[in-house]
Subunit: 757 residues, 2 copies
């Protein structure tokens, strides 16, 4: 028995090797002398991740089922990190191409080599480590089969390490259990500890991780020019991870979010951990092109996805964010008791944004400019004391303020081809939201809302839970599933950062889950050049771009701050940031003086069959070209056709279709017309001005295109002259090269449309 154990141990110690399909990445797995699982990763023969520990420390006292496990020493009751022997090794190869419901491209290839290693302890605890090696990175997860000495168990700490080869440059935000709304810091890993305090800016709910740590996704760059990205995929029924940085050893270590009792995961076999991922590329553009996180998620779980569609929208929102108007209705009440407080007799304070007249004004503007939808916040009773009180029964999600005529406004919007987007601010009481969600969704169905923006501002109720702890991760999932049953698309703000779940539930059309436009002047120049490498790896972000008025005093005289980017930077975001849900966030009156620049927002598509990452460097610049998806344009076409027929309750989305069709098309051409070939290009830069040359070699050869180029004016500058731009029209072809200037924190946008004879 001892000999056999030694033999197996030796055999395992020798290591199992797995190569990526192109052979560039090589993973090694072995068991150490105490039976501890260890992996490492090489790229082109050079180590990227040194020998790193794997597994979990269990909470073993008071863990039901753990009394079955008497074995101590390596493989003892608390150990899922040593005392293992290899019971089985399974290898396989997978190669398929799948079609996302929406996305950056119409087809995604999912090609990996897999190795599943079954580990067993003498006590009977079984853990499978499943490795998937892609050309652009590694994913591995822990699985616990039902045949196991473990049934119910609790995680005290995850052991998983990423032992790095040097003091890489990193783009990071501080570890936190409740918010990811931070600016990124660029520094050497060794500097993180010293910079952490400064990086922890204020948030309405925040819980600092009690060790030096950063959040997933972490983008790093080695001195050799390799881009390493550590993230997680498919976080389901499991807490979200931070990465503890042991700077002395240059090791990162998974640090999970604890629940209200300090448990970092309650598991029931059979079950699986999320994927731990290490992306490795030799070019920053390949990071943006990677589909690693999506590929590691499960295929679409919905039978019918016909009701899911991209959305370009405006909102009665920015005016509240900037304090020009308010979410609340009255100053009459020191505090609100829903169902008891009588708003019908309250004196309005006169600054309520979501009033009938103002909402109609937005509907008119959105309809005239071919948008699909309008978000309205502050429509429902309770906003007088919603914030900071950890109030449980804060909203009922069904009772409008007296000056918000919900049926009437929906009818008016639908008559103009606009859908209203519902808003559910939970104030982070998931308890209360779950008590009302069914009726709230039913109300949406009744009036034809098909999308909701939900919010999780403030500390979580149940008390002691965190935005990223397992019970709250499960809450978000519950909402997505309920919404799918009722054909509702969800855009959750302040919820956990997505980890590719939109592949499985494509009604998850948006998330904020990072510092977005609402942070205004706090946003550092260059912020948006980092997000595509980090936050956007897990799924689209409702960044809410499109701010044209940077001077906040124009909205609120007491606010002397200025947003730190140019108008062309904002236009560039519509192409550099992928989202099937894109907002034009500013006010109609702020677009009015700049309707020629606004034209790009009207024209740009929001769903793509091809995306090209022309130039990129995290924290510096991103230039992207995208080709719209015809099927999505067709959906807009349906909307236009319905409008043309005088039908009510139709989707609009007219503008981007009209652009692709050509403005000279007659209404008779609308139905069945084939769009012209169209491309869009966008670029953004950080606080440095840059000149860049864009080769248009992606265009169809021998075809002429009209290019409309929206560019920072020569004297544009985010601090001194953010609204200065030039619009140039020229005829181009696939051999053309465009020289473009980006001001400091500036950018550019280009529309390219086939010229027909």
């Amino acid at each position: 028995m001892l000999i056999a154990a030694v033999v197996i141990s030796c055999a395992a110690h020798a290591g199992e090797v797995l190569k990526s399909p192109d052979g560039n990445l090589e993973l090694t797995f072995s068991l150490g002398e105490k039976g501890e699982p260890v992996y490492s990763l090489s790229y082109m023969g050079k180590k990227v991740i040194l020998d790193s520990q794997m597994g979990f420390v269990l909470k073993y006292k008071n863990t039901p089922g753990m009394h079955k496990i008497p074995f101590r020493g390596p493989g003892g009751p608390a150990s899922l990190f040593d005392g293992f022997e290899t019971a089985d090794v399974k290898r396989s190869t997978f190669d398929e191409t799948w079609t996302p419901v929406w996305g950056e491209e119409s087809e995604i290839r999912n090609n990996y080599n897999e190795m599943a290693i079954t580990l067993k302890q003498k006590s009977g605890k079984v853990m499978i480590i499943r490795f998937r090696l892609y050309d652009d990175g590694l994913g591995f997860r822990y699985e616990f089969p039902m045949e196991n000495a473990l049934t119910y168990f609790k995680i005290y700490e995850e052991v998983t390490e990423f032992a790095l080869t040097g003091d890489h440059t990193a783009w990071w935000i501080p570890g936190d259990y409740d918010t990811q709304e931070y600016n990124y810091t660029e520094s050497r890993l060794s500097e993180v500890g010293a910079l952490l305090e400064k990086a922890r800016t204020y948030n309405a709910s925040q819980s600092f991780v009690p060790v030096n740590s950063v959040q997933t996704a972490l983008q790093m760059k080695t001195d050799d020019g390799l881009y390493i990205n550590i993230h997680e995929a498919e976080v389901v029924d499991f807490p979200t991870a931070n990465l503890e940085l042991k700077a002395d050893e240059m090791k990162l270590h998974v640090w999970l979010t604890p629940d209200a009792e300090g448990v970092k995961g309650r598991l029931q076999a059979p079950c699986k951990s999320p994927w731990r991922t290490v992306m490795v590329t030799d070019d920053a553009r390949k990071v943006l092109a990677s589909r690693l996180i999506l590929n590691l998620n499960e295929p679409c779980a919905l039978d019918d996805v016909s009701w899911i569609h991209p959305v370009k929208y405006m909102g009665v929102w920015w005016e509240m964010i900037t304090n020009k108007s308010l979410w609340s209705y009255t100053n009459d009440f020191p505090s609100v008791q829903l169902g008891k407080t009588d708003y019908s007799k309250a004196k309005p304070h006169g600054r309520h944004g979501a009033n009938n007249e103002n909402v109609r004004r937005y509907i008119d503007f959105a309809a005239e400019n071919g948008f699909d939808a309008l978000l309205i916040e502050g429509w429902n009773e309770g906003w007088e004391d919603w914030f900071g009180c950890q109030k449980d029964y804060v909203f009922d999600f069904v009772t409008p303020y007296p000056d918000f005529d919900l049926p009437g406004l929906n009818a008016y919007a639908h008559s103009k081809g606009i859908r209203l987007i519902m808003h559910h601010e939970t104030s982070s009481s998931t308890v209360n939201y779950e008590r009302h969600i069914d009726k709230a969704y039913d109300l949406m169905n009744e009036y034809g809302y098909d999308a909701v923006k939900s919010g999780y501002v403030g500390d979580i109720i149940p008390y002691g839970e965190h935005h990223y702890s397992q019970p709250i991760i499960n809450h978000y999932a519950l909402c997505i599933k309920k919404a799918a049953e009722k054909h509702i698309m969800v855009n959750a703000h302040e919820a956990v950062r997505p980890t590719g779940l939109c592949r499985t539930y494509p009604n998850m059309i948006g998330n904020e889950s990072a510092m977005g436009t609402e942070f205004r002047s706090d946003i550092n120049p260059g912020h948006t050049t980092i997000l595509p490498f980090t936050r956007l790896q897990g799924g689209p972000m409702d960044y809410t771009p499109g701010i044209f008025e940077m001077d906040m005093s124009k909205l609120n005289p007491r606010d002397r701050s200025r947003m730190r980017m140019t108008i062309c930077n904002q236009l560039g975001l519509y192409v550099t940031f992928y989202s099937p849900l894109q907002m034009a966030a500013d006010l109609p009156e702020h677009y009015a003086p700049f309707m020629d620049a606004f034209q790009f927002i009207k024209d740009v598509a929001v769903d793509w069959d091809k995306s090209l990452y022309l130039a990129a460097e995290p924290g510096a610049y991103v230039v992207t070209a995208r080709h719209p998806k015809l099927s999505t344009l067709n959906k807009s076409q349906e909307g236009v056709a319905s409008l043309a027929d005088g039908k009510k309750d139709a989707l609009s989305g007219a503008a981007r279709f009209v652009y692709a069709l050509g403005e000279d098309a007659t209404s008779a051409d609308l139905e069945g017309a084939v769009a012209r070939d169209v491309w869009y290009v966008g670029g953004i830069t950080d606080e440095s001005a840059r000149d860049i040359t864009v080769a248009l070699d992606f265009l169809q050869p021998k075809v002429k295109y009209e290019a409309v180029i929206y560019s920072d004016a020569p004297d544009a500058d985010f601090e001194t002259n953010p609204q200065a731009y030039t619009i140039t029209r020229k005829t181009v072809n696939s051999k053309s090269r465009l020289n473009l200037h980006m001001a400091r924190s500036g950018g550019f946008a280009i529309s390219l449309r086939e010229i027909r004879k």
Copy 2:
């Protein structure tokens, strides 16, 4: 300003006095030198409660709204206990008689003198202390009006004290945040500390209060023979209290249950605390006759109560409790995943209690013996791993096991005049229960269940919450209100002990919330002589009496324990314990050999228009006489009439009506017949045998009654001969006196029925 303050302070210091309607109780309120509210209570000129502090310590850091309060020193940010001045004193008198939907008597007088003292701190914090003084005790509560420097605030600790006059004898259970399922200890207060450890017997969920403490209701007796009972009434949106015992000072002090973040109450003005109560009587029988707790609750909140009715029921339950059969269906699964685990293909283990055949057997027996209803536990999927795992998605409350034909069994039961009682074991995941409760109640409505037994076994999810913390108190209330909307009566087990809320929500027909019959041989003799003084003060208890087979090995050969009472003790409980929901808990086959004794359970009523407490001493004996309420009997009559007409889906409840009508009545007499005058008397004793004489002077004068006397046999004894009884019939009148013998842990029961010419 200083002078004015001194004047007010002096005036307040002089004290405000309030007397009970009969003048026997006198309350004094004053402000101390630092402006601290102080009260005391006297009975017939002798102090019962010495000068005692009042108010709260607030959690003031991170308390929204508290930043408004700059004042420090007495009345500082954390203080709701000093720095007060009296702003207003209002006095009033109240006297009404109200009619409970069900209860121990058909009319209850609510007569008190009230004094409401408005206290104000310089910082603007306002607190009203409202005193209500009854002839049998004091209630006071704290109120926070909306006009207040406080809006949202958190309680760090309640200050309320009860300073006692001596080292009284007390009947107590140890302080706990999660269970009240303990045997009572009788001791001097000074002995509590030393006895606490021993008193803390095991429970599936328990959290010891970290100080010397006992639970409400606390029954005490002074050496002068006064009975003092400290309790709470109307615990709504507030945590439940324990009583910390400061033995050196002989002071009790309210110690609230903290939530998962350690907060002992989150309040939003306007709001109120529960009532704190001190009952004072010179006779133990008056404690049982007191309606103090009910009177302090709000009147009925339901418009329609016609659907609420008393229930005498049996259950497929005791056989699982005793391990004769099981709640679960199969041994195939190490763990269950609802919706994934396929029971239809599982091999039954053959010991599932809730199978069609067995349930039909119970229906037959219950119908034959005139019961109203049958409870069935273990009917739904998930029982294989429901316990001790803190499993969140443990039950869906709608999916029956393959061998439980829910529609068929309901149809069968209804055809025999029996309703099935639904069972919802939440496994203490209130999160999961709230996710499914609407559909679960809808299923009940669909099949004609009108009552549910809910259970809260194990530790609470949300993690870190307690059975008695504010969020979970609110959960129980939510369920009661939802149930009322759907005309469902609720009997919650392991939920918080009731505090008179059944007055407001009379669909709360039962609670366990104390050590009940399920604890079998662990129950001390005499336990049931204490509960009417403590647990039952807050509302009825589903004690589940009626065990005839005390030898547990008859049900489970491996269990050598024996229940510690006689059959006649069990019969006595049907009268000494008030509940509109009464069970006959034992198995049909255990009743079969003793059908002559079982006749009393069949005959006894469960709702009363008059109750007389003939003899009582806590921990020793209780003898009660009750007169049934005719309106309730009429409901049974309707059931009988429906059955006579061959109608389906009718309530039965036949037996107690048949008894009142007389067995010689023909079926033609059923409709419209007037019942004879009937009384029931019950007695129970502790581990001491007792002889007692019962004077029947409560009977109508000059009317003859037939008495059926169920009495412990002369050689009966709970240890050696628990099943020995005698049944004697004699003719009696209002001048008769019955001499009765109660064996050790024995009792008796008497039916008295008018003899017609």
